[in-house]
């Protein structure tokens, strides 16, 4: 595949104005699927969480999950949308092997929620309002695995295997209106928008929102228009963008790629593009064409959804606070400085820090772990920090440091073990034998040995030159292979040296 040419970002912005749009799919964490009583689970053996409805077996019929409707209404309200007095399901008809019925039950001209807006905060503290066109309910498709060929990708595969466990998982698709005026902030705004949606659904408790698992998926629409031109340019829709970092990178890349084509006098093809995390590029997918005639019509197997005003008010009253207000409150509660909080927010880690604190960690410990070592590891591995470790495990790690079982240094090793899949922190401590040696006897033996080996140092200490103890601490820590609390070692050295 020939690599596309790209234009320098600043240069691209000089010549063109980017217009953005997003379609974010949120998988709801209901117990069962959207239209059947099969479990909504992740990671189970293929084709186990399925019913006749999920497979589209002859004679099967869908029935709507009430909880999914309630969640969708809550999400609509949290996005500032109006809730439709009557909304309907519709069939979107297209053939694809992961789509059991070869139509997707979705909503078309009567979505459950429409016309809203979401405030998004950028790193510099400025707030942008993203206009929401609609949020509608639909069902997820199954999962294809492409076998044969070099890459495991669809290109060059010999055959594909289909697992319908995910088929029918409830989704809400949130569609923005065109977003103007993002300018240089376009990539950051993209990331901040998805991050905000993520915060909202986590606060609502309606989705696990783990992008690496596909709980939250973003399709980013990007078009450019020459400065001073009214008419919108042709847009591309980049799919498979499954981390916050990628959202930012993909939008930046598309701006640069499209700018290079347009500046050369070329034209943009309206098409789906696939984001490649490894190369940081997008490649052309299917062109939009008349093959996209989805032949929507009202789903005859399902009835209209007519939420009562009472239900809407009940759900509205139960809404968590808006993200911007929430952030302000959290910053205060946690006692973070502006810088500290921005660090957390910009890393898209507010929800993680909150959950970690809820699991028992102190705010400072939670912050340090997420913005420090975990983010560093994520960077090295090129993945999302949130995908590495659960808030519960981070809290457990902080607890082990606090109660003296681990030093910071040891804790970092334990974290590596947790990330490597060796289990919860306690298990890693056990398996790797990493706990701090708190047995004074062992420490004293090592100290005595070290002091005996360095009589001059002992003399200095006994002369009152306490700082000389440093040399002994080093030797003891080395002997203990780092698994000792240096402060305690120092205390003991002074004690031993003072003894006749």
């Amino acid at each position: 595949m020939a690599r596309d040419r790209v234009m320098d970002f600043d240069k691209a912005l000089e010549l063109f104005e980017p217009v953005l749009g997003f379609e974010v799919h949120v998988e709801l964490n209901t117990k069962t699927k959207m239209f059947s009583a099969a479990p909504n689970g992740f990671g189970d053996a293929p084709n186990t969480n399925i019913s006749p409805v999920c497979l589209g077996l002859p004679g099967s019929l869908p029935v709507v999950n009430e909880q999914a409707v309630r969640y969708s209404i809550s999400l609509g309200l949290a996005l500032g949308c109006s809730i439709a007095p009557t909304s309907r399901f519709a069939r979107k008809n297209y053939f694809y092997p992961d789509l059991a019925k070869n139509y997707q039950i979705s909503q078309f001209d009567e979505p459950i929620a429409f016309e809203g807006q979401v405030d998004v905060e950028l790193a510099d503290g400025s707030v942008r309002t993203i206009p929401i066109e609609r949020a509608h309910m639909e069902e997820d498709a199954g999962k294809l695995t492409h076998v044969g060929g070099a890459t495991g990708r669809i290109q060059g595969a010999e055959y594909s295997l289909v697992d319908y466990n995910r088929a029918g998982v409830p989704l809400v698709e949130i569609v923005t209106k065109p977003i103007f005026g993002a300018e240089h902030d376009a990539p950051e705004l993209a990331k901040a928008y998805v991050s905000t949606i993520r915060d909202i659904v986590i606060a609502l408790g309606i989705s696990d929102a783990r992008m690496e698992r596909g709980n939250l998926r973003c399709d980013a629409n990007v078009s450019l228009r020459p400065r001073g031109q009214e008419k919108l340019g042709t847009r591309t829709e980049t799919k498979n963008v499954n981390s916050l970092r990628s959202v930012e990178r993909a939008v930046r890349y598309e701006i640069q790629r499209q700018a290079a084509i347009l500046a050369d006098g070329g034209t943009i093809t309206q098409e789906t593009r696939h984001w490649h995390e490894d190369t940081g590029t997008t490649s052309a997918g299917r062109p939009k064409s008349d093959a996209d005639d989805y032949r929507y019509f009202p789903e005859p197997d399902l009835l209209p959804v007519v939420p009562s005003p009472e239900l809407i008010e009940e759900l509205r009253a139960a809404l968590p606070e808006a993200p911007a207000i929430r952030r302000r409150r959290l910053k205060e509660t946690w006692g973070f400085t502006d810088l500290e909080f921005q660090d957390v927010a910009n890393g898209g880690l507010v929800a993680e820090v909150e959950l970690t604190i809820a699991a028992g960690a102190s705010p400072q410990a939670a912050r340090k772990w997420w913005t420090g070592e975990i983010s560093r590891l994520a960077n090295v591995q090129g993945v999302e920090a949130t995908s590495l470790v659960s808030p519960e495990n981070v809290a457990a790690l902080a607890r082990l440091v606090e109660d003296g079982t681990l030093t910071d240094k040891l804790a970092r090793q334990v974290l590596e073990g947790v990330v490597a899949g060796e289990g919860a922190p306690e298990e890693v401590v056990e398996k790797r034998g990493l706990a701090v040696v708190s047995d004074d006897g062992a420490l004293i033996a090592a100290i005595d040995e070290a002091l005996a080996a360095q009589p001059d140092v002992l003399a200095k200490i006994q002369d009152g030159k306490v700082q000389a103890a440093g040399a002994v601490i080093g030797a003891v820590m080395k002997a203990m292979r780092g698994q000792a609390d240096a402060a305690r070692v120092r205390e003991l050295i002074l004690e031993r040296a003072a003894q006749p």
């Binding site: 002859p58 008809n93 019925k101 008349d290 032949r295 019509f297 005859p300």
Partner: protein, 503 residues
């Protein structure tokens, strides 16, 4: 011919209850009958190998003193559109040949729970698309009245099975007349219940907003007994009504003993008289109307001006919904798979499978439905058809303000010859002119035999239509009419049918 197979289900019910006959005897007699005549009739696509075992378990339960429902131990023919766990379910299509469902249709499960003995799966037009059963992938069913003629469709197999005494009861499905028109041409009783009155779960969908499962029998009371078994709310079908239904069998008994239609206002649909109706059909229909009137019914001429648009609306809505419902037959999860020579992409495999697996009528309707829904045509076709649906509902509402029931001939002609309309889809479609409005409006309707057309000696039926949820009215009036005709003829209409088999 064995006397047992000529008995109605309600008669068999008494014999079984009193212990005069066993379910095994009744079942065996019917299996023997199938073996003797179905080679000529071809009503069955599959005959159950478990039926005698099931019957025997019913006998055992009865001998232990267990209280069983009225239809326990009685054989039931099941239209192949309904999925069954113990027999293949093909919906008359090659694409589903040998398909075994992991679950029973709700109506089948309810029938089993009531002790009925599923005896086999009946032939039908492929995916219920047709009015003659000639569109079955497994060969046509023949009308027991004249083996050269069609048994109606799509449920020709169920109607022929009942008319040929191969089963006393059958299940059918009615999307535009597939229960009533076969009843009309075979001299049997067929009921399309109120939409939502009987579960559609497990009925392989043709047009979801029109399909309804219902009974196919030889008497109105039998239809009522079966309706009572299969009706009622099903949480697996979102369109299923939660109503508490009165007993249809009780309504039929009331009607049979009433002996008159006193107080009943009957609307005669003016659009369904005269032109386009075979003379013998008209004659028997007019006689039936006189019988109604002379027995106390008040006849009122009723105009339903939008009924003339019903066929057009139907042949947009049905293909549109069907084109989507039939998309699942793609060779991935079940059914036939055809791989083009030298392999191919999944898209090519799907296309080759659907080309080979679907018959011409199915393809015609899928293409028509795809057209009706496609971008730029939706409003003109599908959207307009949905509006016509509203207008037809209003016609019914207006009519039912002044009458209790509407009547029409059940179909414009008696059974036509096999092959006669096969090359003229439009002529075939016109055969559903009288039955379609009820499906579009969701109202219940019934066809009851009213005699033979003088010119060809073939059965004719009258159709009763009632307001939504008023299925019981059909049973009451149908049973009254049936009783009066029985009194006049001295026997049921099927007694006049020619002997079958014996070869």
């Amino acid at each position: 011919m064995s006397e047992l197979i000529r008995k109605s289900a309600s008669e068999l019910s008494e014999l079984l209850a009193s212990g005069e006959v066993s379910a095994v005897e009744v079942t065996r007699e019917h299996l023997d009958r199938i073996a003797a005549v179905d080679g000529d009739v071809n009503a069955f696509l599959h005959v159950s190998s478990d039926a005698l075992d099931v019957a025997s378990s019913i006998d055992e339960r009865r001998s232990k003193g267990e209280a069983l429902g009225p239809l326990a131990g009685i054989p039931l023919a099941v239209k192949d559109v309904l999925v069954t766990t113990d027999m293949p379910s093909t919906s008359g299509s090659r694409i589903l040949e040998g398909y075994m469902s992991p679950f029973d249709a709700t109506v089948v499960a309810k029938s089993r729970a009531a002790g009925l003995v599923p005896i086999g799966k009946t032939n039908m037009d492929e995916f219920a698309m047709g009015s003659s059963t000639e569109h079955s992938a497994y060969g046509p069913t023949h009308n027991p009245w004249d083996l050269d003629r069609i048994p109606g469709g799509s449920g020709g197999g169920s109607a022929a099975a009942v008319a040929a005494f191969e089963a006393p009861l059958a299940l059918g499905s009615d999307t535009g007349g597939s229960i009533r028109q076969p009843a009309h041409v075979t001299g049997t009783v067929g009921v399309k219940p109120t939409y939502g009155g009987v579960s559609r779960y497990g009925a392989i969908a043709l047009a979801s907003s029109l399909d309804q499962v219902g009974p196919v029998t030889r008497t109105v009371l039998d239809a009522g007994l079966l309706h009572d078994v299969i009706g009622g709310h099903d949480p697996l079908d979102s369109t299923s009504l939660r109503d508490e239904w009165p007993s249809m069998a009780a309504a039929a008994r009331d009607g049979a003993s009433a002996g008159s239609f006193a107080g009943l206002r009957v609307g005669v649909v003016s659009q369904f008289t005269g032109e386009g109706f075979q003379a013998g059909v008209r004659r028997r229909y007019e006689e039936a109307l006189s019988l109604l009137e002379s027995n106390g019914a008040e006849l009122v001429e009723v105009s339903a001006p939008h009924f003339e648009y019903a066929i057009a609306a139907y042949y947009l809505i049905l293909p549109a919904e069907a084109s989507s419902n039939l998309a699942k037959f793609d060779s991935v999860r079940f059914g036939m798979r055809v791989t083009p020579p030298g392999g191919g992409t999944v898209e090519q495999v799907m296309s080759a499978t659907r080309e080979a697996g679907f018959g011409p009528e199915v393809k015609r309707r899928i293409i028509l439905g795809t057209y009706a829904l496609s971008a730029g045509y939706y409003d003109a076709y599908y959207g307009s058809a949905q509006k016509v649906r509203t207008l037809i509902q209003r016609d019914f509402e207006n009519a039912f303000e002044s009458v209790d029931l509407l009547v029409s001939p059940s179909a414009p002609t008696t059974a036509f010859k096999l092959g006669e309309k096969l090359d003229d889809p439009l002529a075939m479609y016109l055969n559903d002119i009288t039955t379609i409005p009820a499906n579009l409006a969701g109202v219940p309707a019934m066809s009851v035999p009213i005699g033979l057309a003088p010119e060809d000696g073939l059965p004719v039926g009258i159709q009763f239509m009632a307001p939504v949820r008023e299925d019981a009215r059909l049973y009451r009036a149908g049973a009254t009419l049936e009783a009066l005709l029985l009194e006049r003829w001295g026997h049921g209409l099927l007694a006049e049918a020619p002997e079958l088999g014996g070869k």
